[in-house]
Symmetry: D2
Subunit: 214 residues, 4 copies
Amino acid sequence: MPRVLLTGFEPFGDEADNPSWDAVRLLEGARIAGHRVATRCLAVEFGRSLRQLRAAIRETAPALVLCVGLAGGRAQLSLERIGINVDDARIPDNAGRQPIDVPVVEGGPDAYFSTLPLKAMLHALRAAGIPAEVSQTAGTYVCNHVLYGLMHALRRQRRVRGGFIHVPYSPAQATAHPGAASLPTATVAEGLRVALRAALTTTDDLRLAAGATH
Amino acid sequence: MPRVLLTGFEPFGDEADNPSWDAVRLLEGARIAGHRVATRCLAVEFGRSLRQLRAAIRETAPALVLCVGLAGGRAQLSLERIGINVDDARIPDNAGRQPIDVPVVEGGPDAYFSTLPLKAMLHALRAAGIPAEVSQTAGTYVCNHVLYGLMHALRRQRRVRGGFIHVPYSPAQATAHPGAASLPTATVAEGLRVALRAALTTTDDLRLAAGATH
Amino acid sequence: MPRVLLTGFEPFGDEADNPSWDAVRLLEGARIAGHRVATRCLAVEFGRSLRQLRAAIRETAPALVLCVGLAGGRAQLSLERIGINVDDARIPDNAGRQPIDVPVVEGGPDAYFSTLPLKAMLHALRAAGIPAEVSQTAGTYVCNHVLYGLMHALRRQRRVRGGFIHVPYSPAQATAHPGAASLPTATVAEGLRVALRAALTTTDDLRLAAGATH
Amino acid sequence: MPRVLLTGFEPFGDEADNPSWDAVRLLEGARIAGHRVATRCLAVEFGRSLRQLRAAIRETAPALVLCVGLAGGRAQLSLERIGINVDDARIPDNAGRQPIDVPVVEGGPDAYFSTLPLKAMLHALRAAGIPAEVSQTAGTYVCNHVLYGLMHALRRQRRVRGGFIHVPYSPAQATAHPGAASLPTATVAEGLRVALRAALTTTDDLRLAAGATH
């Protein structure tokens, strides 16, 4: 059966858990639209995360790669449109490194669009009652690093599509962040399943406005 | 068995559902800390909502009253500290009335504090992994109207405690509000159960900072 | 000439300046609608701030009292509707005290509405191109303490009106708070002048919706 | 004297003014760091705005191009890091067109980084007391369209640097948007002057973290 590679991240910063991995692990081995899901947990480290991702791509030879990360403070599943070729870290990564304005890939293009059908995924998520939005930036930390590096790795394999989804805090995490939004792990996992199914069954993306005026 | 009266609201504005009632109804008949829960759904109408609430208090003779309403846009369960003696409606209520700067109770005091042990409830919610906060304002619409009217109705029955909790959008509702926070009905209902248990088992409230600098 | 008492606050927390006093001091001695403005700078201390305010009221015998404080993070001039009888401090005051759930005035009523014509002030500010809103909570820190204490002090002098306006960070302060809103001191001072003129020339407040649904 | 080209935009959407042009026009003819400022007002139209911009570049042969646009709701001057090759309009432009997921330049690269020294500009703005931040997205509307098109036009003229700054509402505009941040035109114009001076006098950008974790 063809495979989907689905990755989450280990905890970072002051957090004891990372809801991206907590949700992703629930889908290990799941069958979605005729594909088997393989999961991996990536380090929150510049460089090492990408080496892990590339190794996982070699091991699983997936038809589609979806990486998932935490966006503490965002309220909805964020379908990332683009990864950009810069690391600019406000806080050190889990190995203590804090690159500032360094390219992800020396000499690489400035950015890569995700090749997932974002609008079809957005439509499917909303139809399933799961709040989602298209995001125009994945930031400049390890999540963007992984998205850019993923699309760079896939640049010559145009049949393998790739992209990134940011997820909110878990409710338990949000108890330490007054006023912060959250979604339960079960809701996020269901959202990932819905998004993957839409991605795997969509050839031509929908035409659905989901931009930002700024 | 002594009773708890728990109320939600019917839908209002552009919303087809009201997650306050969707969560409250799940607790109909539940037994919490030696009390039986009776539930009611209130109209989103100035005046009528309070007549319904007072009738429900007479019918159920509760030991504690907790009213629950929707605060679309808030991300956590909001334990309301105070109801104020003013109706100032930005949108008409479900009967088409839009009072502006009219007292809830002519000649009543300017405000009533909730008599629930908010800090103990906050502590219990967070310990249970459910994001919550104390709120210093319930607004000036029907929710505040009901909170003020509840505390006015209870002003001579100091053994019957009362208060109000605002809850976020449901995930399905949030799909129509890009960027808006939400919590599933099951999470909210579990939060109400935890909050009620804390309220029913706490005599002297905790001393726990949960104020706002502004 | 009858007088207006206008107060600001000294700096607190991590801030080196307090834009409330920076704006207020610009109006010292100003003549507005036939009144002379007297200004005072209050301590950011529970208790002492109110003793200073009561002394200033005795000294100036004002026709109207307007207290002004910083609400770092708010974007517009906030006309406060009500002060509530509780101190609940998230951070210590400038004397190191951090009261939690203590009344401002032991045995006082739960709250006092401002007696200023908020809607007329709001209308005048907007007409003058100065962004403003009515706020339903002044928090539970020293600003609310002063508003509640002011209205308590004036409770038997119904001819002397009183209220509170919260102002945003200054632009210079906002440089240390990424993403935070700000308004220049000159804009705030002009807003206070406009608000005072409206308050002094309005007998019956306007009927203008400015409430909150929650 | 070498020239700087500085552009603003005409009003769009429901707004009667555009603070980007209101601020930019104040700098017409100004001399900054040995350069003369030439200003232009661009149409809020996909396509036409870029034709106007390219014509202005031909006419003025500038050493540096800075385009400025409104980001209603943002609170600080936003130094845009990157323009991306997509138009995805949530609202029609001033000519009634609403492209969805169309490239700005057919066959162009996915994105172009600004070539301005953003961190030096950020540092200079903060030192001058003007709130500013680096932004990782200029959206997908006409502002991003112009930024992408500008960098595409300059791609073979590496000595001509270019970039984009988003500015907040004016205070007068914010009176129609309760809770929205704003900055006066004079503050914005002063910020543009400070930013241009920093850009014109900086060869190697500062190393200063200003990224986003997501």
